[in-house]
């Protein structure tokens, strides 16, 4: 074993809380405390591994540093695929980093260290949910999820495929959660907390599997972290800080039954971190000796507060090695290389150590195949329950049918646009530079930039966008021409500054921002004398001040100005003064003496780290004025909330819905069928025209012409009805003026002034004797062989002309015409003879003759419609969306719904429920309307939605309903068809949808088999 402490790996002496080696072994990340923020640093592994690389100055040691975390970084973890780095810190955030393609140095602006970032790592997502410090983060196997735990006692599971989506929040711990580990099989995630418990959670339903408390009951005191670890074969979970007979141990928890019979003993203080070697080993074969069967074993490193490190092999009773006094302070984190032979350890004392083992010491690592075969032997074939498509590759497909569907799907996916996922969605750089170099742009920026005045006379500059980015993939050409260099100085000396600082391994040890600490290799261009860094080490200011030594004292006062928050922004001033009217404030805004700024209030922030004395007094003055707003704030919470919450959405929805209602005036859509201007209670009747004509059907082409009062015979006025069907005419006479007429390809109906309704066949044969309506006809519809009449007395009748029978008998609309202003805005009759009434209030009803009641099929004011989002479930190839009575009545409102859902950010679970409710409504409505095609359309969307969202119960019920009983019995009430669609055929269409989520492969197999069985019968 070789041991190395690379002294250059440091956070300027600040504690290093976490270390993690990149899966490819070429770099590693450290996390810890920065100067006034948290710090994540990425280091080159090569100088650690090889002495000559460490000495070679051309090989960079530090690759990147990120001080975006506002407070100490407690954990850094690379994703298993190595693309991402997750970091969690005391600022309650988890940040996910991705490397930007731009290759070139840059530093953090204003950072005292002049070391350049060789690699660019950019924060791509910030995960906010924790309300306390994030202590540990862990990527699940295959990077499906990212788990983070916090001192807020919770563990949050994030969807690593769709950041920042949260999968769930695991609650149950009653103390600070300080460590996380995933089961390598993917079935569990385990956590350890200060509440003297270690909990195991199932990934299937995110419920608690086990709560292990006994080994921890004795635990006193606390450790900063409790990083537990799961063995690579999945059989053992080893905890941090446990106690056995008042001695600190690392408790071994067996997977089977979560038994706690063994532990690693020997550390003198609490165990902070346990890390299993990713490899499984087998005994090294000695040369010449016969191969011994030997059981494979695991290797585990244990770090403790006692500053020592022990490495254990599960095949040995005693530790392989114990290293004392490696550090001055507690060990905080351990990371193994993927090869299993190297290990980095970091400590609170701000140093790291590298341990290099040989195969002789650890044994022969099993290769991946052997490891997999161990997994297969232990866990059987289907290991992980998957919930995302992306994980398909790792799940075993159990059914050849399933495999067929999968392959079809994959091949079609390859043809189509690339599949979703963080990699695929990575945005590309769109350079706006048009070939102009950055240098040119900078020269003319002042002249070129767009400056406008706001209405109140303020200057407003439109910044020049030099790169559109999300992940920061800059084109090298853009920045190589004129790299943006650190520490804003004019361009000429920027370059020299860069070069000189690069070539000199400057001390870069300054903690604060005191100017003199920096190697001031660049001379301020004032011509002032330059001094080397060694000259100004003690006289911090002298290097800078040069000619004005007398001014040293004021500098101290000036220094504080850098860190104090500015007195007030006009914004704050404005609000405070606007409240001033409500609340008399003692500290009236003082005049800041600004040239253009409005009156300033000395609103200091308490957070500014080094506020000086005079600030304190100002704060005292302020305390009154600050309190007031806070008090007021409470009262105004309601107002604030309302603004963000639902009402805002409703506001959004209202203007959305209205235009659509206006856009579908009935007359425009179906001129022949509708006639319903406003009326209070009774429905309006069409006025009698001398003559009118209408086209009844396109195919065959049927025209209807009505001419009223053509002749007077024996005092009665006769009206003529003329019909032309495919060129053949017929006509008939009616004893009264025709008020309205309607027709289909099968029947024609006319309503006369004398409240008589006559029905003719398409050839002019009278089919029914004249029907006497109770009140004059308001609207008349024909469809197939159905005739519907809506009377002015707000009653509805529908007749089946073939069967000569009433489907709906004088049904009153009063029950749906609630409210004085509501009137019928649209009415229609479906091909199946279902009457549909659209009302002016946006609601739409159909009368179900089987239920003998009005059923609501569409409500444009329904927020459900506005929020339902099932875009992901739409069939891609079915270009004609859905056409039928349901679509006609709901109109383009559906699109509006999708639009609205995109604009408003409804919480996912809420939206999910709303979508589900909406889809079920659609399905039921289509059923009531007897609109078979629409039923099929919505059924498939519904099934896909259930599959995507993983609601197994509903899906199973749906399949069961479609399948029906396999064995016929007289007692079953199951109908094999619905709306003329064979249910089992529908099931056959639903099954390929189910395949899309491998989680349901059992369900698929079950129904697929039964369908096959039925087919063979």
């Amino acid at each position: 074993m070789k041991l190395l402490k690379p002294s250059w790996v440091s956070h300027n002496g600040k504690p290093i809380f976490s270390v993690d080696i990149h899966p490819d072994g070429t770099k590693f990340a450290t996390g810890g405390q920065g100067e006034d923020s948290g710090k994540v640093m990425i280091w080159n592994m090569a100088p650690v591994l090889r002495d000559e690389d460490e000495k070679n100055e051309n090989i960079p040691k530090m690759l990147c540093q990120m001080d975006n975390h506002l407070a100490c970084v407690n954990c850094v973890r690379w994703s298993n695929n190595g693309l991402y780095l997750a970091s969690g810190g005391d600022d309650k955030l988890v940040m996910v980093w991705k490397r930007a393609a731009f290759i070139g140095p840059s530093t953090v602006f204003g950072s005292s260290s002049k070391l350049a970032n060789v690699e660019q790592w950019r924060c791509v997502t910030i995960l906010r949910n924790h309300t306390g410090d994030v202590m540990d983060v862990a990527w699940s196997p295959h990077d499906v999820w990212l788990a983070s735990c916090s001192v807020d006692n919770t563990i949050v599971i994030w969807n690593a495929r769709k950041f920042p989506e949260m999968v769930t929040c695991l609650r149950g711990h009653t103390g600070l959660v300080k460590g996380l580990t995933w089961d390598p099989v993917g079935k569990y995630v385990a956590s350890q907390a200060d509440d003297h418990s270690l909990r195991v959670w199932r990934t299937m339903d995110w419920q608690m599997e086990a709560n292990i408390t006994k080994p921890f009951s004795e635990c006193g005191g606390t450790t900063h972290v409790l990083r537990l670890s799961w063995s690579p074969d999945g059989q053992y979970l080893v905890s941090a800080h446990a106690m056995n007979n008042s001695g600190p141990t690392a408790q071994i928890v067996e997977r089977g039954g979560w038994k706690t019979n063994m532990d690693f003993v020997g550390h003198r203080k609490a165990v902070t971190v346990v890390k299993f070697n990713p490899k499984i080993f087998k005994k090294k074969q000695k040369n010449g000796s016969a191969p011994k069967p030997g059981c494979p074993y695991c290797c585990c490193a244990v770090g403790s507060k006692d500053r020592s490190l022990s490495v254990w092999l599960t095949s040995l009773k005693r530790p392989l090695v114990v290293i004392h006094d490696l550090f001055d302070k507690s060990i905080m984190d351990i990371s193994w290389t993927l090869t299993g032979l190297g290990m980095l350890v970091c400590s609170m004392d701000g140093t790291v150590a590298y341990l290099d083992f040989s195969l002789d010491e650890l044994g022969d690592p099993l290769n991946e195949e052997e490891k997999n075969s161990i997994h297969q032997n232990i866990y059987g074939k289907s290991l992980a329950i998957t919930s995302t498509e992306a994980q398909l590759s790792t799940t075993i497909i159990e059914n050849p049918e399933m495999l067929k569907y999968q392959q079809e799907r994959q091949s079609s996916a390859q043809l189509g646009p690339s599949s979703a996922g963080p990699e695929a969605s990575a945005p590309k750089l769109n350079s706006v530079m048009n070939g102009e170099s950055l240098e040119d742009i900078r020269k003319n920026l002042l002249k070129k930039q767009v400056e406008t005045r706001t209405p109140d006379g303020r200057r407003r500059i439109t910044p020049l966008c030099i790169a559109q980015l999300d992940t920061g993939d800059f084109s090298p050409a853009l920045f190589n021409s004129a790299p943006i260099l650190p520490s804003g100085s004019s361009m000429s000396n920027q370059l020299t500054s860069q070069l000189s600082s690069d070539s000199s391994p400057g001390p870069a040890s300054s903690l604060g921002l005191r100017p003199g600490h920096d190697p001031m290799l660049t001379s301020p261009p004032a011509g002032a004398a330059t001094k080397g860094p060694e000259d100004n080490k003690d006289g911090a200011k002298s290097g800078l001040l040069l000619t004005s030594a007398s001014k040293i004292e004021p500098m101290k006062a000036l220094d504080s100005r850098f860190t104090e928050r500015s007195k007030a922004t006009p914004g704050v001033t404005a609000t405070i003064s606007s409240i001033a009217g409500l609340v008399p404030l003692d500290s009236r805004p003082k005049d800041g003496g600004g040239v253009s700024a409005p009156k300033d209030v000395k609103a200091k922030d308490d957070t500014s780290s080094d506020s000086e004395d005079k600030m304190a007094s100002i704060n005292k003055n302020l305390s009154f004025s600050k309190r007031k707003p806070e008090l007021l704030m409470d009262g105004d919470g309601v107002v604030e909330k309302r603004k963000k919450g639902r009402p805002r959405k409703d506001k959004m929805a209202a203007p959305m819905a209205q235009p659509f209602m206006q856009m579908t005036p009935p007359a425009e859509r179906e001129p022949s069928r509708v006639a319903a201007p406003p009326a209070a209670l009774k429905l309006p009747t069409p006025s009698i025209k001398k003559a009118f004509s209408l086209q009844v059907s396109m195919e065959p082409s049927v025209f209807l012409e009505v001419e009223n009062e053509v002749s007077l015979i024996a005092g009665s006025k006769l009206s003529q009805l003329r019909c032309s069907r495919d060129g053949r005419d017929w006509n008939t006479l009616l004893p009264s003026s025709v008020v309205t007429a309607a027709g289909s390809s099968d029947v024609l109906a006319v309503a006369c002034q004398d409240r008589m309704l006559s029905v003719f066949s398409s050839c002019g044969r009278r089919l029914l004797p004249a029907i006497q309506l109770a009140t004059p006809a308001s609207a008349l519809h024909c469809s197939a062989h159905f005739v519907m009449a809506l009377t002015a007395g707000a009653t509805l009748s529908v007749w089946d002309v073939h069967k000569q029978k009433a489907l709906v008998k004088n049904e009153s609309l009063l029950s749906i015409l609630s409210g004085a202003d509501t009137t019928v805005s649209q009415s229609l009759l479906t091909q199946q003879g279902v009457p549909v009434i659209g009302l002016s209030n946006g609601k739409c009803y159909c009368f179900s003759s089987s239920l003998e009641t009005w059923t609501l099929i569409a409500d444009k004011g329904d927020s459900m419609v506005q929020c339902a989002d099932f875009r992901s479930c739409l069939p891609t190839h079915d270009a004609p969306v859905s056409s039928g009575p349901l679509a006609v009545m709901q109109g383009r409102n559906l699109n509006a719904g999708r639009l609205a859902s995109r604009l408003s950010s409804t919480p996912h679970h809420l939206q999910q429920s709303m979508t589900l409710a909406f889809l079920e409504n659609q399905l039921a409505s289509a059923l009531t309307l007897q609109s078979a095609q629409e039923y099929r359309y919505w059924l498939l969307i519904y099934a896909r939605f259930l599959v995507n969202e993983g609601s197994e119960h509903r899906l199973r019920e749906l399949c069961q309903e479609l399948l029906g009983p396999v064995h016929k019995s007289a007692a079953t009430a199951w109908e094999p068809t619905t709306l003329g669609l064979r249910k089992r055929e529908l099931l056959r269409e639903v099954l390929p949808v189910i395949v899309e989520n491998l989680r349901f492969q059992r369900l698929f197999t079950e129904y697929q088999d039964q369908l096959e069985l039925l087919r063979n019968k």
Binding site: L93, C123, R442, L558, P570, I576, G594, S596
Partner: protein, 199 residues
Amino acid sequence: MAKVQVLNVAVLDNPSPFGNPFQFEITFECMEDLPEDLEWKIIYVGSAESEEYDQVLDSVLVGPVPAGRHMFVFQADAPNTGLIPESDAVGVTVVLITCTYRGQEFIRIGYYVNNEYTDPELRENPPLKPDYTQLLRNILASNPRVTRFHINWEGSADKMEDCENVDPSPNISGMLPPSCIPGKMPPLGLMPDNSMDCM
């Protein structure tokens, strides 16, 4: 984490005569589209002794700011010499660039500024009343001092991560008449571009 990161500030026209305008070329990067403008200010510290002599040289709104890397030049007139205490005219002082979003300052970049006579004779025997025309302003551009503040970027009360650390001002907006967009102050005027977020 801050949505806006300042990547670089280049001090242009430096050193220069005292009366020349300040010019800073600011490069910043924005993580996501900002619905509201950034407000940048240049503050000249007239005297180290007291904030009373601070001068806001200018403030500009910068927007719209979509996600991406942006740059602009912020030019502001030289300080009003009448407001600078005579004893503090020559020597070292500070110029600050601050940026606020929704009325909350999230970054403060400070530079030492050295004002000196170029003429050696004047340097030896400075006049009692400072002669500003002879002063050379030198900004110590190589050594910016950057202080970042944690602010509430969302501008809404319940998303606030750190109540005690965040400037209370965004919440004050709750007291405005409901017709106001939160975080926007009437005296600044409503920017029509931003009404988009109501759609």
